[in-house]
Symmetry: C2
Subunit: 216 residues, 2 copies
């Protein structure tokens, strides 16, 4: 770190705003609510409902899911040819790419309640995201809805395409969904009925409240 005879450089560089200060400003604790489950299980709906419930309590959340990420899918905003990746790493010139797990981790570090809504079918991948975060800051929510229900809903028509063989490797059809072994919250049918989004969001908010996430 250069000082160039300027003590301010040292001071400022060693005192970035810390997470705890942002959390105090927001009166909440940064974390990731990771909603996993089959396509059509209601992940996005829960994410919206949870975001609204938190907003009504004055808490800042942000939803990461296909809907607000899709715009980036077909853009090539790489800052350099792939061949220069190694150079980029060393010089810090630019721009590696981040996974959703890494982005969610940054949002939590910023103090937000980051609601990630992704099928995320593989246990090891979810666990890798969990491992990025400080202890207890990763809240895994399992939308444990029957495949038949999800396929009957088929909100994007993807099950139909998968059954017709037009999509390969579709979770639940010809690719496995690995249920969580130790998720924080499991949402499922009650007496054969799907809980309302409001009820499910309430269950998550209760957990967060009890665990102290909604105050700093």
């Amino acid at each position: 770190m250069s000082t160039v005879g300027n003590p301010a450089n040292i001071f400022w560089h060693e005192n970035p705003v810390r997470k705890v200060e942002r959390e105090k400003l927001l009166n909440q604790q940064g974390c990731v609510v990771w909603i996993t489950g089959l396509s059509g299980s209601g992940k996005s709906t829960l994410a919206c409902s949870l975001g609204r419930e938190l907003q009504s309590r004055g808490k800042l959340s942000y939803v990461l899911d296909g809907d607000n990420l899709r715009h980036g899918l077909n853009k090539n905003l790489g800052f350099s040819p792939e061949s220069r990746t190694e150079n980029i790493r060393r010089t810090g010139k630019c721009i590696h790419k981040l996974s959703i797990g890494e982005v969610a981790n940054l949002f939590a570090d910023a103090g937000l309640i980051c609601i990630a809504s992704l099928i995320s079918p593989y246990r090891k991948d979810r666990d890798a995201c969990r491992a990025l975060l400080p202890d207890k800051k990763f809240i895994e929510v399992f939308m444990n809805m029957p495949l038949q229900l999800c396929e009957d809903r088929d909100p994007k028509g993807l099950y139909k395409l998968a059954r017709e063989g037009k999509i390969k490797g579709f979770t639940g059809i010809d690719d496995p969904y690995e249920p969580p072994l130790n998720c924080e919250i499991e949402l499922q049918l009650k007496d054969g009925v799907v809980p309302t989004p409001h009820e499910m969001a309430g269950q998550v908010v209760s957990y967060m409240e009890n665990e102290g996430f909604l105050e700093a």
Copy 2:
């Protein structure tokens, strides 16, 4: 969108928390402050100083730069082999990667003042980031410090390595830095003296205040 006879699904899904609501909660306007300039020009120092100044005013900011992103550099958190990328896109199963520009855009959408500190030497790349954001929400700050000054500082020892040929394509040595043509803020020497971080942060904050970013 599936409704499954449940009107709540429709309601919630069509009513995610909007940016304007998050901004109202925070009493600020989400935006990106993109600090560009040579290695050693003081980008990270300004980012820290600006973050502290905003925090002292009760404003929520978050710094994206090499320091808080480097942890992700050597991790492989891809959710699937590259060969499955196309399938991933179609099914939304998981996890494409986002560039820093895209991540900064998400933070701005979340209502934060996102401070991105990157050399970002190419004009077209900065302009691509600008184009992601709504009008006037991209504040380009050019750290216009002389190469000689930056090289004398050489805080990470990278100029030395570049001069010795041990790093190829290093900005300012054997790769160009393209100065902004229409940046919002330009910071430079005054009477041959580097302004303090506090002075430079003040200049950015004044701009933001005048443009209405610090209230909702």
